[in-house]
Amino acid sequence: MSSIIHHHDETGTPARQRVLTLIVIGIVGLLFVRLYQLQMLYNIELGKKSTENTLRAIVRDPIRGYIFDRHGALVVDVGPSYSVTVTPAEFDKNSLALLSSLLSLEGRAIEDRIEKGRAYSKFSPTRIKRDIDFTALSALEENLYLLPGVGYQIDSKRYYPTKASATHLLGYCKEITDAQLVKLGDYYKLGDLIGSSGLEASYETMLRGQKGFEFLAVNARGKVIGSFEEGRNDISPKEGFDLILSLDAGLQAFAESLMTNYRGAIVAIDPSNGGILALVSKPDFDPAVFSGVTPPDVWARLNTDTSKPLFNRASMTRYPPGSTYKMVLAAAALEEGIIDENYRFTCHGAYRFGNRTFKDLSVHGSTNVIEAIQRSCNVFFYQLIHKVGLEKWAEYGKRFGFGQTTGVDIGEEIIGLVPNGEYYDRVYGKGRWTQGYLVSLAVGQGELGVSPLQMAVYAAALANGGTLHQPHAVQSIRNKLTNRIDQFQHRARPVGLSVETMALVREGMRRVVSEPRGTGSAARIPDVMVSGKTGTAENPHGDDHAWFVGFAPFEAPTIAVAVMLENAGSGGSRAAPIAGLVMEKYIHGEIKRYKPKPRLPRLVPDSTRVVTQSLQ
């Protein structure tokens, strides 16, 4: 072997020195390149990672916007409420039983919330129970030393300082559901409150404000060690915007009181712009039920209640309007030149069509269009609809906004139904329906379906001389950041009626209330000329629904109103007096006549009271 290996035992030749020098330069150069790569090329990416490593963002909830009425009265207030929180990482399972008894919450429910919170961040406090009362809070405080990881925080809840509840208009907030979390994405987190109905829902993004964040520095074990960079990066929450409503809280409260023991709705609108002055749906419920946390049993009761207190009867019902709809047919006939003011028809108390006889309530004799409205002569309109025809009748219905959305800003409404030939062809088959179907439509019966809100918009259009305003509860929005107030920009369109047609229809309506032999005299107000129209909608399933639409003062209306009472009987005797009182209250600010005494209605089984009482 020694023969093969070359003998040169020379130490450290210059060649070998060069090789080693190159190796050293190579190694240092390699490290240099890598250093450059990490610090100069990947700097942004790795810098972000380092920030994420050390930062924990704690959400600070904003104050939800306040809601005021048209006179500046605070209708929806915000106040403090205490929420119990648990920091999952610090919680000791052995204290679960104690916590459960202190909060009267099932252990399973608490564990469930903690697990969901842990999925978000085990070091951030997660809400276990909202809105605990003061007794529970004191009991909790006394035991906090036994409950590691448990704490409480101040949240806000809704308060309703006025007598008006306006439940269906204002709506309510609820804790966000899992489904909403999936759908609405990034902004919301488990345990957040979100507007779930009414204005709270439709103006959610305005009212909620913007969450703020407080940044805390954490160490590698996730433990908070202080505020990050002395809070220089913290984002303070931005207050929600205030809503200023066209609502008159006093009128609303009064209208609600008139509806005690009724099922039905009142919608009062400012005819000059469509602003909602009052919107009542009965039965209702106390909105404070939802202000903090809703007990599941109360929620279940509200949901299963057969009187449907959660249901907004003002915008979500579809009832035939009865005779209150007659102005549509009258307007169609006049506008199309089929009749004029001199046209008369003699009512013998009944109308024969084909082999069927349709009875009227009385024999009205020779009647012109004004008298037909005034006395609600059915026969006059029975024969008139055949002259006008289904399509024209339907067209004028649409012109008044029926069979379509009103565009109201409270979020939920249904369009109702104005049947036309196409509709009947679809439902019954072509040629399988007759002109006889039209007879009931002439007096607002049959398939025709409208909501009290649509009727109020219609009444307002009749009041203002033919402009259909988009009804809206919000008059303006105050931006709390800039203090700028933005007016609600509502839509409006003309119904498209001549001055003459309008004058004739309105004269008919004036006589309904303000002249002898009118059907709506119960709606009269001292010192003010009122006009309107009564309606009694036949109900195949039970008692008639009572309707009244009207406006006042006749010369320069400031309020238009629609009243609908389920199964209450005749419109003239039940709905008209309520409408009169609502209009009087709004116009005079008080009830001028002696003590208001609407005829006592029959007691409708009303679970509202049961629910509200049980909550108190």
């Binding site: 290996i5 450290g12 250093l35 990490l38």
Partner: protein
């Protein structure tokens, strides 16, 4: 007097070492002052003082004394390494710690210096012919005996340093290129084999070229190549028959980022720390990764992250430059030394420093497997700091005696 200093005082080794020790103290302070490990900085400061003393002693001792002491020192260090295995304290899973009275230390640090000196002393003997295979094997054995004792502690990182130091020393002592290639080839192929067939083939090709170019005799070259191939194939054979968990352990050793929650965690956090430093860093004591203890025991093996994060590319480059200058100076000392012992020892010292720098900084930047070896002068560790400063002192000694035979 000044001329005397100019002639005999090794300014470069001295100031580069002091510079690195200062950077180390600054970094250790940052990594520990708020981490509930307050006394670490004071202890490091104390050891720096002891190290300074050790450095001066090593620099002024007569060269002949050092050469004569090298073999006894080597024997003593072997005895201590052996004793550690029997009575040593287990620290971080390794029996590498020996405590005497209040002071404790890692004997493997002493063994490093002693082995370099013993190897140099043997190779420098006039009777030693490195071209004689018997002598070559004896030299290799001098390095491998302490390596074996360190491996069983087990301290894989330090044992790798012993092996890595051996090759440059043999190279400097004049071992034939072919012999080095024949030693290196099986190692290259074995590592290549672990990375899969593609890297296996590449490494085999590289070794074939190395062996072919340095060959003296075709038959011997072919035999060396056959051995290389056999090692590679058997490594693959053994690896494939290993239990899955052992395979995983090897894989995460080679590629720690495959296990981001285990050993990859440190590398990931270290990369984040260095990378987030940017051009000028986050400022002293302002590095969030460092101050918030994202890297466990950062003051030991991941100390490079401190200058990287807090002083940025400028600070970290300065550290690299200091090391680069020290390494080049070590080679310079070796080449100007007329004394064979001093020259070979200087190369050994430079090789130890270089290996530590490459593995440690490479590891902190995700270039190297996570091998627990400290960064010279910077990492916390008393005996390591002392012995590193003693090695710098030896370089100063060799510089001062460069003209003596």
């Amino acid at each position: 007097m000044l001329d005397y200093f100019k002639e005999y005082f090794d300014f470069k080794a001295f100031f580069l070492t002091i510079g690195l020790v200062v950077v180390g103290l600054v970094s250790v302070y940052s990594a520990t002052y708020d981490a509930g490990a307050g006394s670490i900085f004071e202890r490091q400061l104390m050891w720096a003082g002891i190290g300074f003393f050790g450095m001066i002693v090593a620099a002024v001792l007569p060269l002949k004394t050092i050469q004569r002491l090298s073999v006894p020192a080597y024997v003593v260090s072997l005895a201590i390494l052996f004793a550690v295995l029997v009575i040593g304290k287990t620290v971080s899973g390794s029996k590498s710690w020996l405590g005497v009275g209040g002071l404790g230390g890692q004997p493997s640090e002493l063994a490093k210096v002693a082995t370099i000196l013993a190897l140099a002393a043997f190779l420098a003997k006039t009777t030693t012919m490195i071209s004689d295979p018997k002598h070559l094997f004896f030299a290799i054995a001098i390095a491998l005996i302490p390596t074996a004792l360190v491996v069983v502690q087990p301290d894989i990182g330090t044992s790798m340093v012993f092996v890595a130091m051996l090759l440059p020393v043999l190279y400097w002592a004049g071992v034939d290129n072919f012999v080095l290639a024949a030693i290196l080839s099986p190692v290259i192929v074995a590592v290549g084999a672990l990375f899969g067939t593609f890297f296996f083939i590449i490494s085999v090709l590289i070794c074939a070229v190395l062996l072919y170019m340095s060959r003296q005799n075709r038959f011997i070259a072919a035999m060396a190549f056959a051995v290389t191939l056999a090692v590679g194939v058997s490594v693959q054979f053994v690896y494939e028959r290993m239990p899955a968990y052992q395979q995983k352990r090897i894989m995460t050793f080679l590629n720690p980022e495959a296990d981001p929650l285990g050993s990859g965690y440190n590398v990931l956090q270290a990369k984040v720390a260095i990378g987030s430093g940017g051009l000028f860093g986050k400022g002293y004591l302002q590095g969030t990764q460092t101050q918030l203890n994202f890297i466990p025991e950062q003051w030991t093996d991941f100390i490079f992250c401190v200058p990287g994060e807090e002083f940025g590319f400028f600070g970290a480059s300065l550290v690299l430059l200091l090391f680069g200058a020290l390494l080049l100076h070590g080679i310079k000392v070796a080449s100007v030394s007329k004394n064979r012992f001093a020259g070979i020892a200087a190369i050994g010292i430079t090789a130890v420093f270089g290996t530590h720098v490459l593995i440690n900084i490479g590891m902190s930047m995700g270039l190297m497997p996570v091998v627990g070896i400290p960064l010279p002068f910077l990492s916390y560790g008393g005996s390591a700091l002392l012995m590193n400063m003693v090695m710098s002192g030896l370089l100063m000694n060799f510089w001062a005696n460069r003209k003596a035979y």
